[in-house]
């Protein structure tokens, strides 16, 4: 499979299929990135497109200094920050706001409430790790912070969630897949 970085360089040389392939690879992940962070499904779709519009717009200046996915999430993070600034100045309208669709409402409610209790920086780091599955170094690059800060905040946020998890009552219908306390690799981890 052609690497993201090779596709980006081919796109830079004018290859439209390379852009199509990059879009195909990252459309879903970027949509998920925005969808988990925004109330509006439409804005999540818009910003996914805008991320690629920025890529297209700036392709001539692109330099392969980092992984393409880090580059894409860096753009996405800036668009998200702009979106949040915009919304902080004007309340969202009802027509654009709808709950995030999911298969397990109780589990998602717990997750959203738990994440909301974290400070913004810890929440962002945790989400980039768990959902975007970025490495510590990639998160550091996207957020422009030190890798050690990523690790310490990630650890702190997970401990906070663990502590929230402990006293939680477990109604029969709340969790579809019971969690077993066996050793399992965390997402994005490949075990030899």
């Amino acid at each position: 499979m052609t690497s993201d970085e090779a596709l980006m360089l081919e796109f830079q040389r004018g290859s439209r299929p390379s852009l199509d392939e990059l879009f195909s690879r990252y459309r879903g992940p970027l949509y998920g990135f925005f969808r988990r962070r925004l109330e509006s499904k439409e804005r999540a779709e818009d910003l996914t497109q805008e991320t690629f519009l920025v890529v297209i717009q700036s392709v001539e200046r692109y330099e392969p200094l980092s992984l393409v996915r880090t580059y894409l999430y860096g753009i996405a993070m800036k668009l998200l920050a702009a979106e949040r600034r915009k919304h902080s100045r004007s309340a969202p309208t009802e027509s654009t706001s709808e709950p995030v669709a999911h298969e397990n409402p109780d589990a998602v409610l717990w997750i959203r409430e738990a994440l909301d209790k974290l400070d913004q920086s810890e929440r962002e780091i945790l989400m980039l790790r768990e959902y975007e599955q970025l490495s510590y170094a990639e998160i550091a690059e996207v957020l422009q912070i030190a890798v050690n800060t990523v690790r310490s905040k990630l650890f702190r946020s997970r401990l906070a969630l663990r502590n929230q998890l402990e006293p939680q009552p477990k109604p029969v219908h709340s969790i579809a897949s019971p969690v077993t306390p066996t050793h399992t690799a965390l997402p994005g981890t490949s075990e030899a």
């Binding site: 439209r16 852009l19 949509y31 996914t48 519009l53 999911h102 998602v108 690790r151 969630l161 663990r162």
Partner: protein, 90 residues
């Protein structure tokens, strides 16, 4: 978690980093060897894994394949930028 780093040879964060493949190889081996005999670290690893598994319960429904791309294609802005950047179909 009351482990004291002055008496405990492994930092708590290292247990997490080890799980995620984020430690240098030599340090990962030290942490892995330690965990064989440390109930507390194994429990911490299980707790961290548990948290991650719970977080994976939040899955997002992705729009139908191609729908975003069709929207992108129909975007006037994209067409203008495509023209500006001289994209060609190869």
């Amino acid at each position: 978690m009351n482990m004291n780093t002055s008496t405990h040879p492994i930092e708590h964060e290292e247990v997490m980093a080890q799980l995620e493949g984020e430690l240098p190889q030599d340090r990962a081996a030290v942490v892995a060897a330690h965990m064989v005999s440390c109930d507390e670290c194994r429990q911490l690893a299980a707790d961290l894994t548990n948290v991650s598994q719970r977080l994976q319960g939040w899955q997002v429904e992705i729009p139908e394949p191609g729908s975003l791309f069709l929207l992108l294609q129909s975007s006037g802005k994209r067409r203008r930028r495509q023209k500006d950047t001289g994209l060609t179909a190869t």
